[in-house]
Symmetry: D2
Subunit: 398 residues, 4 copies
């Protein structure tokens, strides 16, 4: 990090530039405009295999330079942090190489496609940390102000000891049987279906808000539509040649009943078939003294019930989490002027930069990401064994 | 049934007169005032062990006569139907005797405390049916207009084939650890806790709206507060003598993942510890063409999503089920003038009388009640065996 | 009142038996079943001009006797109270005669069709009161538990001094232009349209919850559909002979801006053309320390905001007004088991009987009804004079 | 406009850099990253009276250069458009000079503090338009996707002819009596209070969605807290010297009943005293065939009722306006990933640039802004004359 305008700079290389790359670019660009950051991030280089396409993306998204081989950026002195936005099956290799090269790493979720990959990554992160090199997984829903507030309230004891959680992530973009195949429906590329793509968020949000890990789970997976039309643009690993339809090799929906390390029961559900639910990441946490409820479809709202309220006027309080007293909000707009999806990415950059400047490991760490992976894996194994209860190992803590 | 005012009469004997007895009395009294019934119900006799208390209740609730032994009413010619409102552990004996005596039977839910009892009752109901004697279980939430509408829409194919169900029944009356013991927390009297008391409704509503039975389940039970203060008025089977606290021997919360006979996955939850949820019996049913969502805390509303709506204006439709086009509603008030909890009981009387007049078995039958019992039993057994998947037998159909 | 079963009886004569007659009958029948009343109401006699129809109604609704001339009941010793459910243009004559005959009076809203009638009625009520004879207007929405709770909270100072009110009553049953004429659309029979029929409730609820009267108003009336098809069954005062369409002579919508006696500004609206709003009687009252919001379409809910809540967790509290701590609720069902439209009528009977037993004038009094009439009249006069500000006289207080 | 990267550039000068300046900067920066624009906007120069502060703002917000006198930018060849974010009392002078200098103008709302200023500005805009120089007023709430969708649905006839509108803008940031004075409470600086600041949005949204102008209005203004503490940092025009408290010279709340040019009645309300309502810009439009309802506190939702739906399943449809079929949304994120307050500003830049590239006057024009001003002025004059009906002139149309 070199000094610039009084602040050390943080050179960033971003690998991949699809949907997630656009979101990350907006975050790197916007964070320093609204937040007073200890480091000045620079959008140094974008990496894409196709030079021309990568250059067009870099121009559009605001990156200064382009590389076609991710290994090249590991050797550049002007790169301090590698931001990995590629598909999950590439994460382990890139992240471990970057950490070994002394670059901080931000990796999109899911952290990896298998527990083995995740374990290897977590080990690499621990080793790097000892050298002052840090890593983070991109569970951005943690950075929604209402979710941060939920965590703060649990931490402060406002709802007492956690007794029960219900966590769901409901979407409907596959409910139409004629929707075509994509890489997200191919097990070798995506690892799993609803389970890893969106169920991972439900698991992470449960961990984040309760401050607990999972102890065990019983699960069930379902694929409602086992074959789908092949889009012309699609090339899966199982080359579908001239055929019209190809197999869906991942789950469409994942259900689970689980327990946290405290024993608290949890219901889990992730589905891409919930007609009418567009992005309903929902969590309700009940404790000994109250309860919290959140739904991303109303992302600027947190509902809070406090048992200590007097009986005649108790009820869930609909908190508009848009006030200067709320996490992140003061940097933005006046009261009531809600934020959107992308702000979570900006807040992620803010939290990451603050942690790096203070020499702290940011959160969620690779160990956290590994734990999410283990929960998903246990649920999947349980589903394959008549839903029997499956313990979740937890040997690492950051 | 003798003729009276041009209509055959239906003499009713009600056994028990606590909370449920009050609700049933209001229904018997009110149904003929608002609905044109083929039989004229008469509130002939109320049965209670304590003569004086029973007489006071009969005067208050509008019953003409009183008996202290339920066997006595089976011999009365002026009694055509026995309405059983006693605790679950007495249902089998009374119901079977009544059917054998040629009396129709309405029994409150849960139909029985064990599968064995329920099997015996279902057998008795089948035998009686052959003699023109009918029986019914009191799952009154089926009679909420919004729930009936949901069933009609599923039956008419408005949401296509059922793909997924999530069913919950959330209450909070035990969330306070200082709430005292009651018979509902004693396994020998109540059979189970949240599972049988409210989980039964979630199971029945799933069956009713989807028109399907359950194939299997994986479950988990939890008792959050294993000991509670003994109220002075309480006398459990385990006489607590002079002690201050007694054991809770039932579940506080029950969770399950299940499949219907079509294979459709279901999430189930029943809890008495969901702070802020007072009577949240919720069900969301997603099909191939749309979805339905209901929450008893807004009992006059049904939410409907139809995938065929044009993309720019699709969304869950909030249907106020208070219009003359809706089930039962025309008999009551003008548009928008909502109904309450007790109307389900009145509608139950209406449906029951219509079925009896037509010589049909009313619904839900004892076979339906038995199936609910089997689901609860399977969930409980699964919970005792590491949540392993447990098949649900289904040998009877009415 | 003669003694019966240890309690003095209250003989009731009900005049009229249409929609309102059914609601009142259900209330007289039900109140003593759920509430411990100091007087035992008896459904003594129903009055209807057509003997046969009246007898059928009496049989159906549970009245012991029938009269065809309302004057006859004033001479009966077994009648203590006259319950007037006829159209508004007959209220004054019947009520005044009944009071003069020493009978208590309950009169449906609107109390009268003109201010002059209402003034005469209020004078008669004052005179009767001196003789221990009491009168009441049937604004039953005051008896919804959530509305009572709102009043209690304002009275207790929970929202401080009232600053602003917005009160609306939105329906849509006339929005369809092909809906036929009815007496409610004939000025001579109905007095006014949305203004008097439903606007009266918005005015009364404002008075009740704030505890204040109105000082002045500026208004606007609109008739969207000036002519409608004549239903075959309809006979208006302007006999429409063989014609196909007849004139609508009342307002379809009424809008106002007003001030309470404290100066607090109020927005008022009543319309029968608000597509999708079935019975949305809504009121939001903001004070110096908080705010309250109610919508009859969610009649079991009151929303409360308290400014004193800490900034990070303040928000409208959604109170389910279904708990034993809430007005009237303990007499009914367990927590969370909501009430319906008709319960307001039962609560009205309860409050009326309690007042009579204690020798108090029940509330709302005829003076209250007169004030509502004056507000409606002022709004209508303002609308006829370019919406100019119109003072509301207030010379009477009960 | 010079060519650059294949696109003509649009040099922008922004005057003022407080809250609105930050929002506009984010919009100029972000629009070209997500939308394919026909012109390439350049953040050429920021204008602020204090050189040092302006330079710091320019560095933070991303402007290339700084000027301290707004007149200087009118002479710069690299400036094509002037974006005016200063207080309302300066708008007329700057806008007219800019237009005269051949610069396009975007001016924040309220367009002016008086009708006279607005008339002069509209005349200048008409004159400039003839020279190919364009102008626009910054009513960004028009650019919320749900609001655009509402407009499209009205235009397409989905709700038929407009019958009624209720429009409110409710905030609570002044409800606390101890909140200090600010320039927004000084009539000479701010023109009016809630009326012009937020009521203007309610008026504009009504115009935009209905496509109609206002014909007349009857109004009422209220100042609840006439004196407030003087913040140390505050210097009003009435220098408050050493005094502790100063006068509030604007309205705290404004109420109106109005008619559109079609005669459709409208209720209007703007208040800064609605405890618990943080930014509730609400509009409900009812037509002959349906209704629309929007509340900015749920900015990603539009509610639609269609009378043609079958009676048993009609209801307000809760449309999540987050899908690719919705206005502006495809440029952003996947389904269900909501937008926030600032996106309206970005969409404003998009619409403005598209209009400029096509040589069209963007909307809302200065004539539209003038009409809003006339409605506010008429409401204020009515309030000063006993709320009498006040016609609204409408001599200009763009």
């Amino acid at each position: 990090m070199s000094e610039q305008a009084g602040k050390p700079r943080l050179g960033v290389a971003m690998i991949g530039y699809a949907f997630m790359g656009r979101a990350h670019s907006q975050a790197w660009r916007t964070a320093p405009k609204f937040f007073d950051l200890p480091l000045a991030p620079e959008m140094t280089v974008l990496v894409g295999r196709n030079k021309q396409a990568a250059q067009a993306a870099a121009d559009q998204l605001g990156w200064s330079d382009v590389e076609t081989d991710w290994r090249a950026v590991l050797e550049r002195d002007d790169v301090d942090l590698v931001d990995i936005c590629t598909p999950g099956n590439t994460h382990a290799e890139i992240a471990e190489a970057a950490l070994a090269a002394g670059k901080h790493v931000l990796v999109e979720k899911p952290m990896a496609n298998t527990v083995a990959e995740a374990e290897s990554m977590a080990a690499a992160a621990r080793a790097a940390r000892a050298q002052g090199v840090h890593s983070m997984v991109g569970f951005t829903y943690r950075r929604v102000p209402a979710v941060q507030l939920a965590r703060q309230l649990v931490e402060a004891g406002r709802i007492g000891q956690v007794r029960q959680v219900r966590a769901q992530y409901l979407q409907d973009w596959l409910a139409d049987e004629t929707a075509p195949l994509s890489w997200r429906l191919d097990k070798e590329l995506a690892g799993s279906g609803a389970l890893g793509d969106i169920g991972a968020h439900a698991v992470d949000l449960t961990m984040f808000i309760t401050g607990q890990r999972f102890a065990g789970v019983s699960g069930l997976l379902e694929t409602f539509v086992p074959e789908r039309p092949v889009a012309e643009s699609f090339t899966g690993l199982h080359g579908t040649g001239g055929s019209q339809r190809g197999p869906v090799t991942v789950d469409d929906a994942a259900l689970g009943i689980a327990r946290l390390e405290s024993g608290a029961p949890v219901t889990l559900e992730a589905t891409r078939f919930a007609w009418g639910r567009k992005n309903a990441l929902r969590i309700e946490v009940t404790g000994t003294k109250g309860a919290l409820a959140f739904d991303f479809e109303e992302m600027n709202v947190l509902n809070l019930y406090e048992a200590a309220d007097d009986a005649a006027t108790s009820g869930f309080r609909r908190i508009l989490v848009t006030e200067p007293e709320h996490p992140y909000v003061e940097a933005w707009w006046p009261p009531g002027h809600g934020l959107g999806y992308e702000h979570g990415f900006t807040h992620q950059v803010v939290d990451l930069i603050n942690a790096l400047a203070e020499g702290r490991e940011p959160s969620p760490s690779f160990e956290d990401g590994l734990h999410v992976q283990r929960v998903l894996d246990a649920l999947e194994r349980s589903a394959g064994q008549e839903s029997r209860w499956t313990q979740i190992e937890d040997t690492e803590r950051s």
